[in-house]
Symmetry: C2
Subunit: 413 residues, 2 copies
């Protein structure tokens, strides 16, 4: 009744095989209003100097600094007001000896002015300004290019576009941003017992959970879930579905149909269409995970997750998500969905396999959830999971563990 897994791999071996495969990266330009969370595909250089002109930093009067030297309350210097220049205006006159211009924050400093004296140290009457304090050359003027000169590197390729970085792109006026095209992930749930949400539940059937969890998780990796389908455990039907889907997507993720049991046809389909590279990983839960390639005009990767929802999700998070994110251009250092917490009570992991233990987080403590991988309420309670190496015999109460949260800081937010 079915073969056992021929070759159970350690997680690091499976990762190595998966990481030896690569998804083709392409680049597209998207409007700056739509690039939040996307990943920059090119180094970005300043196409203009910033600020683009000598910029007034305070409301006041633009002067030649030396005209103010020696000014005091008792002995003010008197300057002739020749112009008013607000932000956005173009100054029309040069500042000469004995003259000044009223300027607003953000205005260009008029030609030949070299300082701005703050309005607090002055008094205006008609077209004359009394200056009660000297100002040093350069004061209250931000020099053109002092923030960055033209043609300098501003942002590196592979930067995730958070609001601050989008600000940088705006400052140089970029309207369209070169980003990596989002990876298209085809998603299939297999199983004769699976029916779509929203339908009536006949006896013996269960609702499709995995295509929804995996779609959402794919989306949170900055990828696009497509062609979500439920397919029966039938060689021909499954092969047809995969054949059609593989031409529309960059990678296919299935769930179910990977156990070494009676109704399992996925392995045979992959063997027929390409090659099984991994079948069986030393995970608990998640042992029946499969990695294969499909031959075609373009070869595609297929990852077969286990059918049980908890198993499918933790294998996705621990194995597939890092792969998708790296292939989306996100560097590993941007993976900050991990927090370090103490465990609430003694826990005996299942030895001999890497154990993914669901936990809930309350008051900065990680509380183990011990339910089988078919239990949906485990997902209702969980905030994330802890990866326990197979060599660990026991986790004592209070041991520090790394909790990987089911939410992520980057990807499309």
């Amino acid at each position: 009744m079915g073969d056992e897994f021929l070759n159970l791999l350690e997680p690091y071996e499976a990762e190595k095989i998966l990481n030896s495969l690569e998804l083709k990266k392409s680049v597209e330009k998207v409007g700056i209003g739509e690039c939040s969370g996307r990943v920059l595909a090119e180094d970005i250089y300043s196409t203009i100097a910033l600020p683009p002109f000598n910029r007034v930093a305070m409301d006041g009067y633009a002067v030649q600094a030396e005209n103010t030297f020696g000014a005091s309350e008792d002995n003010p210097k008197v300057l002739k007001l020749i112009e008013v220049v607000g932000a956005g205006d173009q100054p029309q006159k040069k500042i000469m000896e004995g003259t000044c211009a009223e300027v607003g924050t953000g205005a260009p400093a008029p030609p030949q002015s070299d300082a701005v004296i703050m309005v607090e140290y002055t008094e205006k009457s008609d077209n004359q300004v009394m200056v009660f304090q000297g100002v040093a050359p350069g004061e209250n003027i931000t020099k053109k290019g002092s923030d960055i000169e033209k043609n300098h590197l501003l942002l590196k390729k592979d930067t995730v576009l958070t609001p601050d970085k989008i600000g940088v792109l705006s400052a140089i006026g970029m309207a369209y941003i070169p980003v990596y095209t989002q990876i298209k992930v085809g998603i299939i749930s297999t199983g004769n017992e699976i029916i779509p949400v929203g339908e009536d539940l006949d006896y013996g059937k269960v609702y499709d959970v995995n295509s929804q969890t995996i779609s959402s998780a794919v989306h949170s990796c900055g990828c696009i879930p497509v062609g979500i389908k439920i397919i029966a455990d039938d060689f021909k039907v499954l092969k047809n579905a995969i054949s059609r889907l593989m031409n529309e997507v960059d990678i296919i993720i299935t769930s179910g149909g990977t156990s070494a049991g009676a109704g399992d046809v996925l392995r045979s389909v992959i063997e027929d269409m390409g090659e099984v590279l991994v079948h069986g990983i030393s995970f608990k839960p998640g042992k029946p995970t499969l990695i294969g390639t499909l031959k075609g005009k373009e070869d595609k990767i297929l990852i077969g997750l286990p059918g049980y929802p908890v198993a499918a999700l933790v294998v996705f998070e621990s194995l597939v998500a890092p792969f998708l994110r790296r292939n989306s251009g996100v560097s590993v250092s941007d993976e900050s969905n991990t927090i370090q917490l103490k465990i609430s009570r003694r826990f005996h992991p299942s030895r001999g396999r890497t154990h993914h233990l669901l936990v809930k987080v309350r008051d900065d403590i990680a509380i183990p959830i011990q339910k089988d991988s078919g239990a949906i309420t485990a997902l209702a309670d969980a905030d994330g999971y802890v990866e326990i190496p197979k060599s660990t015999e026991i986790l004592e109460t209070g041991t520090l563990v790394h909790v990987k949260l089911f939410r992520r800081t980057t990807g499309l937010f």
Copy 2:
């Protein structure tokens, strides 16, 4: 030349005033495929039992357990195979004394069977199965409702819909999910010097940064930025723009035009249209921040951020983002974009005001970025910021600081 701020508030006072205002919450139903990152607006109860039937947990033979008692390698029990039941099938026959059914993982356990014996402990020939080991009642069958009974609380209102929680909703077959309607945020950049990205840069002009950073930040709070506009510093023009926009949105965020200077008209517009509640917060940068209300068919809130990009973004993150997220139904405990790190070198904050210091993070160390709030390269380098209380005189090298990252873990991912 303009009034100074009449009343500079402490950040906690401004927060209190802002939090006394509330945005109207409404609820909508969205398809389960579109609800990633949204916030649940109702408690969700199990509408079915899970599993919905007695579910086979292992490939094997469904039996009456007592028929296997005493079985051994030497003395197998022999059972008559009466049916094959796969996942998704409906069993047609009852298991009686001396009979069994071949069952696959996920199949319903046939009526009157009370255990499944694993295939490893059996041998099949024709329609007879030899059983070499006894099995206890209940073994390898997951009882109907053992995960959760019908009508029990599954997920609480205000839960952020991460992939795992979407799995829970799928398991009970929900196709449409009640979530809070996303808050619509109107965004206006003010200033005569501001021009949209993509246009040619005339002398004296700068590109609009704030509407892009604030839109992106609004989006990452799970809200919808709308009606993004650049408006001149002119009373009539600005008033018209705000009047029109306020009917389309839940809240308006402007930037620029809040300093107590020459070209600043925002305050007068708010005074004309409603009430200024806060003008001036003891922030560095960000002092000129304004909070007001606009009278209308429905009163609306307006928040005026400073014009300098760094100031606008950190005031948004520290003051506005928590407000938007709380009004989106996200609980404060879900705000996990903060990490604790050591500071790389001694830093003297500006005393007397809450200082928001931009930092970059390298090798788990927070490195202060000391540039003025008009500097765009500060944003290029930054990963987040540290909020330093006004009473802090000095941060010694190695002091632990809380870095708020410019990326967020929840909201729409």
